[in-house]
Assembly symmetry: C2
Homo-oligomer: 336 residues x 2
DNA sequence: TTGTAGGCGTTATCAG
DNA sequence: CTGATAACGCCTACAA
């Protein structure tokens, strides 16, 4: 059933039907009503292909995501989805892209199917990424450390969050603060490590390479690193895990080897996943508003889509919040 | 840059270019090479709108999801995405649909943008849902208890998984097994409750309405229910939480009130999220292959898409696996 | 206020 | 083997 069927049935021309359905141009009230009725009766739905062929728009936004972890993933998509839907846009999602070639391939096939692109790729050089993006497609980069580049981008304040957590541990009287880093070559991980180091340096606290344990954001990495850490002499008296999954793995390891938290070792995580407060002890963490990330991304992108002109690329940083529970040994572990 | 530009530049007609690009029809090797070269040099990308206008295909599959929890969500999407990509299809995702009206609206706007639909909606009547689907769009329903309906569908073996877990608890010598149910009017939740009851009945174990505590799949619901449960006299000596999030909330509650797990109360969950084994004590659970769910769904859907004929609607049930750790008090808590 | 007709970029069916 | 040309369904000047 096409627009012509509706036109014929309503006894008017296709042009009139089109005008009614798009609220473009003047149509008499009587005809308008009749067409609406016929369209509804025939269950007419405009053919999107034809429509976007002529309008050069798809009302769709492409989303490229890396392989990422549960809580993260769903929050981001949810934010993107809700914001997009509110503006009448759809989401074409493609995940599990781990290298530049895969991203490039995904971008290529999305060409012509989307009006804009949201790209999250924490483990790639932003500049390399930026060159892959067709100049014709507006895009906003997420978590890419692209502050210097000529692209729209939004980052989390990884540095600030890590800094706040480590400073907090030091303020609580801890002297030897260790870290389990995130995945190698991951931007978020690098920034959190940087925040950790800066906090130690600014406080004049002791630093040691031995206290920087390699992780990859997985529970098992946290577990393994914590076991190594538990055997050190002197043993660090505080641990900053670069995300909550690793922190939880670490809590488990400490329990297994009889290291008490927070008495022997204070522990802090990052992300503040819902489960954090139900850990034993409840996990202190750094909260990031992942949903907001998606929301902001869509807003910025739609702005770029609508004003095709040369907008100045903006770089935005989303703030983080320190959430103090009892795993860090704070006197008043406020349980929220 | 369109196909005409390529044709002109290569000194041939658009028909020939089209033939080369689609490997349809015979073209001399010389011309073929020349066209390939020109297309590449011009960075020609076919216009998808025009293409799908005439072919009546979009190479896209629509995915409708309810609001669901972290681990779940990402696993399903990942499975769908990978399977779809492997077959050259894209994913148009829309989440957070909570009632029939929202689903219907989402289906409507996806009309014409997708070749098929994957719908997960555990909290709706399957029949109501089925009527909303346009006859023209192939669809497969996930977790909808649509076994009797004339639609393709795939369910998890919620009943069997719950049954196995509860039977396991009983086999361990527990006599008073309680349950925290999932969200009301949720199909998965209902099936797990049914499995719980069946296991008790078949074992001739004591049953009581008081032991069926209402939950909603959230950590806090698990926490609250467990606190109520801890105060009962006689207190149940085993607890089956309808998902891991609630089980973890329950573990936290038991810790807070001094109930020992598994000595005083054995605990089992459902889903086997990655964090389960890192809990204290490590959480026994029921594993479901969420990724496979997505994979199977795409396979079934593409089959339906390609063979437009009247295929017989199939109903499939994905098996579950009991994962025994120590929270259930099993003598040998195999840590995997 | 309404209708006619051209064209969006492809593919497919014909002749040559 | 290759080239015109007619759809595909819709929007939008331009006329009436």
């Amino acid at each position: 059933v096409t627009i012509r069927d509706v036109a014929r049935e309503a006894g008017v021309s296709v042009a009139t039907v089109s005008r009614v359905l798009n609220d473009s141009g003047p149509v008499s009230e009587e005809v308008r009503l009749r067409i609406r009725e016929v369209a509804a009766r025939l269950h007419y739905v405009p053919n999107e292909a034809a429509r976007s062929l002529i309008s050069n728009k798809t009302d769709t936004i492409g989303v490229l995501l890396p392989d990422l972890y549960g809580e993260f993933f769903s929050e981001v998509i949810r934010g993107l989805d809700q914001a997009a839907r509110r503006s009448g846009y759809h989401l074409l999602v493609s995940s599990s892209h781990n290298d530049l070639a895969e991203i490039a391939a995904a971008v290529r096939v999305m060409q012509g199917r989307v009006d804009g692109l949201v790209v999250m790729s924490p483990h790639l050089e932003p500049c390399a990424l930026a060159t892959q993006l067709p100049r014709s497609l507006p895009a906003v980069l997420l978590n890419c450390a692209a502050s210097g580049e000529a692209v729209d981008s939004i980052d989390l304040d990884n540095f600030g969050g890590a800094y706040a957590m480590v400073r907090h541990l030091l303020a609580l009287g801890r002297r030897r603060v260790a870290i389990i880093t995130g995945a190698a070559r991951n931007h978020d991980a690098a920034e959190r490590l940087r925040g950790y180091r800066a906090a130690l340096r600014d406080a004049g606290a002791e630093m040691s390479e031995r206290w920087e344990l390699a992780g990859d954001f997985s529970e098992s990495a946290g577990y393994d690193a914590a076991r190594r850490l538990a055997g050190m002499r002197p043993r660090p008296d505080a641990l900053f895990a670069s995300n909550d999954s690793m922190a939880i793995g670490a809590l488990s390891a400490f329990r297994d080897v009889g290291v008490r938290v927070p008495e022997d070792v204070a522990v802090g995580g990052f992300d503040d996943i819902p489960l954090a407060r139900y850990m034993s002890p409840p996990l202190s963490s750094v909260r990031v508003a992942m949903g907001d990330l998606g929301d902001r991304a869509i807003q910025r992108l739609l702005h770029a889509v609508r004003t095709r002109s040369q907008w100045a690329p903006q770089h935005e940083v989303l703030p983080t919040t320190l959430v103090v529970r009892s795993s860090c040994g704070a006197p008043t572990g406020r349980s929220e």
